[in-house]
């Protein structure tokens, strides 16, 4: 009875329920899982936006040129450092607004060699305190100098706050400064009385005051051929006079020493004579 009644009535819901029977075979799920796994792995690997990969690409592109780029960087660094070194050491003949230390004897100083601290040439307003200190140093050195002894240290120490003579009143900082400067003096004497203080002060001043150096025409620095010739002749004839001239002092000294050696050699050769088995020496 019941089955006969069910057979006779088929509703829309029954028909739609038939669609539930449309199911894939079990083998379908194997393929489904495999494809889904591949898609899931692909989804895990997220593609980065181009602006994030750009630096890595740039580095990778430049990586093949890292050796020439490194060499170029080293060359550029070397060039810059040499250039900085040359600008720090001023060329001879160029006027620089720096402090100058000179060991030339001053006419008004009866003691002979006194450190002269010249005031800055073309004194700018900024230079004035440094020049004042330099003048005070000069005055202190002139008053406290004895004989040919160079006394810039005492002047500076006196400025700082104490005197070198009464060592008991020196503060520790003044004492250390005096020791440093005395060491610098020794080094200066080793380097042929070249003023180390001058170089130091020039470097310091050039760093403090980046004043523009006046442009000097290189042609103006060249000497006339006649002057060169005259200096050579004079150096040959009168080496002492030539060396005394301040214009070509360095070159004439070098010339005079070379010529003196030549003359000594020639005179020595002329005084020596070889004759057979004899050696003659003339006195």
């Amino acid at each position: 009875m019941k089955s006969d009644r069910e057979k006779t009535t088929v509703t829309l819901e029954d028909l739609l329920r038939l669609k539930r029977a449309e199911r894939p075979a079990p083998s379908f799920w194997l393929e489904f899982d495999r494809e889904l796994r591949a898609k899931q792995l692909a989804a895990l690997v997220v593609e980065r936006p181009w602006w994030r990969t750009l630096p890595a690409r740039a580095i990778a592109g430049v990586a093949r040129y890292h050796l020439p780029m490194g060499a170029s960087a080293i060359l550029a660094l070397t060039f810059l450092s040499v250039r900085e070194y040359r600008t720090a050491v001023p060329e001879a003949g160029l006027a620089t607004p720096v402090l100058e230390f000179s060991t030339q004897p001053r006419p008004e100083s009866p003691d002979g060699n006194v450190i002269e601290i010249a005031s800055a040439r073309d004194a700018a307003p900024d230079v004035r305190p440094v020049a004042t200190v330099a003048e005070q140093l000069r005055l202190g050195a002139g008053e406290g100098s004895s004989g040919e002894e160079i006394r810039p240290v005492s002047a500076m120490v006196a400025l700082i706050g104490g005197t070198e003579e009464n060592g008991a009143t020196l503060s520790p900082s003044a004492r250390s400064i005096s020791e440093i400067f005395s060491g610098a003096q020794e080094i200066a004497s080793v380097f042929g009385n070249r003023s180390l203080m001058a170089a130091a002060s020039q470097g310091f001043e050039s760093r403090v005051l980046p004043a523009r150096q006046p442009v000097v025409d290189p042609l103006a620095q060249m000497k006339a051929p006649s002057d060169v010739r005259r200096a050579r002749y004079l150096g040959t004839a009168l080496p002492a006079i030539a060396s005394a001239k301040p214009v070509a002092a360095r070159s004439s000294e070098r010339l005079a020493s070379r010529i003196a050696d030549q003359r000594l050699y020639e005179s020595g050769v002329s005084r020596l004579g070889l004759g057979g088995d004899r050696l003659m020496v003339k006195f």
Binding site: E6, K7, V10, T11, L16, F32
Partner: protein, 235 residues
């Protein structure tokens, strides 16, 4: 779990599970809230939420459990919407991939299966919108060995053997043709309610519409289907 548990029986619902709606609020205002119609569904939602938390914590393998649990249902929804098994397989995979990619944004405002079904329906509808001019059937074989389908087919025909199978295939094609004549919204409502067995509230939540709209669409879709399948109905 902030779920609305104040439920009351709704006598006009066609099914018992679908007959629970919030007692204090209007049925049209339940969108976005998780409605737990039965204790079984509540337990299922809690279990899903635990797995979702594992996946959000970095346990990617836990998502496979969700796939195993819901793949047949999701495939069924997409297949009945598209009537194409190849497309259904691809769209089901896409659904799980989308869910996997955006599972960190899932905060538990709705149950996981509702959220997953919404992704599946939107994916299928988007596919149908793109390929509205290209539609052809690729049907799965109907399992006529199931008791329910066997009874229905036996009620429709007196023949047996090969003729019954031929009749079942013809009926299957007619069913799919009738379904494809419906609009996508009506097809979705019919699929979710009659085939997948979801409640009106769940369908409303999935389709982001009101329960009244779901009922209206369902009624209209049934009328159209009855007109199409009249030769196969027996009263």
């Amino acid at each position: 779990m902030n779920r609305v548990r104040e439920t009351a029986y709704f006598p006009f619902a066609p099914r018992g599970r679908a007959g629970f709606i919030p007692s204090v609020m209007d049925a049209s205002k339940v969108i976005g809230k998780t409605l737990v119609a039965s204790p079984e569904r509540a337990q299922e939602a809690d279990a899903d939420m635990e797995i979702v938390r594992l996946v959000q914590a970095g346990d990617v393998a836990a998502f496979d459990r969700l796939i195993l649990k819901y793949r047949e249902r999701v495939l069924g929804i997409v297949y009945h919407l598209t009537s194409n098994r190849e497309d259904a397989a691809d769209l089901t995979q896409d659904t799980f991939i989308k869910a996997f990619q955006s599972i960190n944004r899932f905060g538990g405002q709705s149950s996981f299966f509702t959220w997953l079904y919404r992704i599946a329906v939107n994916t299928a509808l988007s596919h149908l919108r793109k390929h509205r001019l290209r539609s052809f059937f690729s049907l799965e074989a109907m399992d006529t060995d199931q008791p329910v389908s066997r009874e229905i087919i036996a009620a429709l025909t007196d023949t047996s053997g090969a003729e019954r199978d031929t009749y079942a295939r013809e009926l299957q094609e007619k069913l799919n043709e009738a379904m494809q004549k419906l609009s996508t919204k009506h097809r979705t409502v019919v699929t979710l309610f009659e085939i997948e067995g979801l409640s009106h509230q769940e369908i409303a939540e999935i389709m982001d519409s009101s329960v009244g709209t779901v009922r209206s669409r369902l009624h209209y879709a049934k009328q159209l289907l009855q007109a199409e399948l009249q030769p196969y109905l027996r009263r």
